[in-house]
Symmetry: C2
Subunit: 241 residues, 2 copies
């Protein structure tokens, strides 16, 4: 398996044809998995907000005082969320898409202007599917696409890349019912391979270098294609929210 | 970056010189990162228990009834744990090493005999350091070693590989204070690269195939070497335990 950074991508602007930029710079082959950083997807889709346009509600003002944040940023976070899960230094929320993450995935790095923040894509699975279809159209090859972002975790330090949106790829390797080398049935072994692929890609993305796209080559999981939504643990199965 | 499965490893037995098996089959080069599945480390170190040797306490009996488990397995889990974090279908515990995981990382797959379970290494950082030193001795090259296992996560479906023990490698990429392409300081961006490397490796390990060791080549993170212990979130910084 190879994990290849796509270099030389220009700064992405709202309205850009991101798939064309990817097709030109990544030169994808059939079967490649393209991991695309959420930030460039959001920028191409115009998922940006100017803080100076935001009028915080009293709720946002109160919360902002509590955690020492800019109330306009807190308002932007609340606008993207259905629930605050924890508040302590940062806001950990459940986003409209079901993700549990800090600040609803909103941040201001790698976005032009002091005043502008990027939001997560409205529907990362749709973003992934659209990129996949457009790459097929432009490059003539079937690829899989993962739209990824780095999230914090419970219990462990540091952030890690996750698959927000997925197209053309199984998201799990399901070993249930299979036998190990000793003929015993494997225990709970549904592996979140789409998240693991996002992790592999992050290693060569870096944060400051302009490598928003990574090609993973030589990995062909079997199974039915899934979505980023499948990776979100339903509330009733979640002991930690 | 290449992620290369090490094939042809024999079944590992208690007392085996695991580093020799790795050196012979992986043929490591200087700078390689060797990701070694916890299961073979535990087997080589004799970290196995026979359920038939275990006399469950009344506490284990009660807990076993509650979650419909073998009381001897529950006893083995309690023996490896300092605290039960959640009990519902499975036991999520804090292990003696600080890991929050299901069943204290104990399982019976890929272990010979219906009656035998494998425990996590007593000290995965020590295991990693010993493997690293012994590979240096045998193969004459400096490598990094990650001892990995798959853990479940809060909020997201599926298990994912994590770095339990680390030697010769920074565990975080710390971008704090660095500037993005627009000259703005990056926000919370301490990336758990050792966990991401474990994830990358898991993709080619599989669960049924006998690929307990993976070589990651062409990835050379900068920074001070860390440990698996550094990746464990201290209780006072953890909002979810």
């Amino acid at each position: 398996m190879e994990v290849l950074p796509v270099e030389g991508m220009p700064e992405v602007q709202p309205g850009d044809d991101l798939a064309r930029l990817i097709a030109e710079h990544a030169r994808p082959r059939a079967g490649d998995i393209l991991v695309v950083a959420q930030k460039v997807v959001s920028k191409a889709e115009g998922r940006l907000r100017k803080l100076s346009d935001i009028e915080p509600t009293p709720e946002a003002e109160g919360l902002a005082r509590e955690i020492d944040h800019d109330p306009r940023l807190v308002q932007a976070i609340l606008d993207e969320s259905i629930r605050v899960v924890r508040k302590q230094r940062i806001l950990i929320v459940e986003t409209r898409q079901g993700f549990i993450c800090a600040n609803a995935g909103i941040d201001h790095s790698n976005v032009p202007g002091e005043d502008t923040v990027s939001l997560l894509p409205e529907d990362s699975d749709r973003s992934a599917a659209e990129l996949r279809a457009r790459v097929r159209e432009l490059a003539g090859v079937e690829v899989a696409v993962i739209v990824s972002d780095t999230f914090g975790r419970a219990w462990r330090m540091g952030i890690e890349n996750v698959a927000l949106g997925v197209a053309g790829l199984p998201v799990f390797a399901d070993y249930r019912g299979q036998l190990d080398d000793h003929g015993k049935e494997l225990q709970v072994t549904v592996v979140a391979i789409a998240d693991e692929l996002a992790c592999a890609a992050e290693l060569v993305m870096g944060k400051t270098a302009r490598v928003p796209v990574v090609v993973i080559r030589g990995y062909t999981p079997e199974g039915r294609p899934g979505t980023g939504r499948d990776l979100v643990r339903p509330a009733e199965l979640d002991l930690f929210r």
